[in-house]
Symmetry: C2
Subunit: 233 residues, 2 copies
Amino acid sequence: MTTPPPGLRERKKQATREALRDAALRLAVERGPDQVRVDDIAEAAGVSPRTYNNYFASREQAIVSAVTADRETRIAAAVAARPTGVRLADAVTEAVVEQYTNPGEREQQALLLFTTQTTLRDAFLDAAADIEPPLTAVIAERVGDTGAHTARVLAASVAAAVRVALEGWLVPAGNAEATASSSPGGLVVPSGSLPDQLRATLAPLAPAFDAADKRRDRSAGERFEKAAPPAKT
Amino acid sequence: MTTPPPGLRERKKQATREALRDAALRLAVERGPDQVRVDDIAEAAGVSPRTYNNYFASREQAIVSAVTADRETRIAAAVAARPTGVRLADAVTEAVVEQYTNPGEREQQALLLFTTQTTLRDAFLDAAADIEPPLTAVIAERVGDTGAHTARVLAASVAAAVRVALEGWLVPAGNAEATASSSPGGLVVPSGSLPDQLRATLAPLAPAFDAADKRRDRSAGERFEKAAPPAKT
DNA sequence: CAAGAAAAGTGCGTGCACGCAAGTTTGCGT
DNA sequence: ACGCAAACTTGCGTGCACGCACTTTTCTTG
């Protein structure tokens, strides 16, 4: 339905994009990230440097995109796939956790790489913002047209929360003092597993989702104060 | 306590920064934004081009910063200034609205400018993210150490919501079709007043704030069960 | 008040992003 | 099958961000 035959043009385009992504990551891993010139990537992908820049706006973006790929789309799909019975908050959380759990081996190398160079790290964190548009779509479908921008805001908040989680997770290298200083006197789970981090940062948003969700299934006008779900801490 | 005598070094630094900001905005307004070379800004501020780059990482940043100034700090201060009795959500919302309400005349010109060039618009939107760190601090103070990253996530969500509001507000120029397509069939307040937009985008987050807030004054034993203000739509 | 340390300003060189105006490939209607 | 129009690629030129090494200014300490 979405891909009858994609057409040759589109296929070539995707191929080029993938070649570039691939080359970028590979080169960045085998020599250091600083030792990769844009021309190298272009050449490795068999394309002109200028064309490279038609696909990616920065070297970092190219490298990072090899890992992030089309995570955005998959997250949206994963949310849409959950039965409409479950809480929206849970559906989103699980979808996100699921899609950010990659057992790939090349990804591990890449992530390790990201911890070494702040510019790569930043690019990776920025990539998380890409989940907003697709998420907005699926959330909008769930909450209906409650408030004009509700879905947008919720999606954006999720993206922000994910970013926070990733930031807190990508620290193990180098700055042992930064981890210590983040909590003066207490320990804050230096950098537990990513799924845990994600759940932790998404949790505070659950009430907002509940509220948006609630409005929907009681489209008539009664409002009742419902205590927050038993916080198990 | 905060400024004994700021020291001469610091004063000069601020002066330079302001000179750069000023020059950047002024030049951008009088000739078009594209007709402003970095060297021009530097020269107008009486400083070397290289130095300019020590203060700002991009031309857009310099221009935009003339408007955004230290809004971040003021927002945080405004939140902290509210009595602890009011709902946290309200405190934050009002503080944000208040600080984004500028009757300045030069700002108007600038904002108009931002609508014309996407790169400026984007820089302006990105600047909204700067409110996160200070907001995190004040929110953390209110909610205590509920969950490690709760404050961070809430602050980041606010920043995201503000961004959405600004995005929806900075459209009046040119694309009449974009405004129409944003809501297939219904009208979504094409671009009402900024305060309204801000309140609208921040509203969905209120439940999250309430949940975080509740925990806190529950531990103090005093609870203020207040229903959400009658949403009149 | 005299060094010396620390920080800010500067000049230079490099790699890069991107607009523009060709050239080349793909898709489609007749 | 042909040819036109749209999409993609490419080379070139420009302005820019930023690392590095060095000079100048400000702060500190004995």
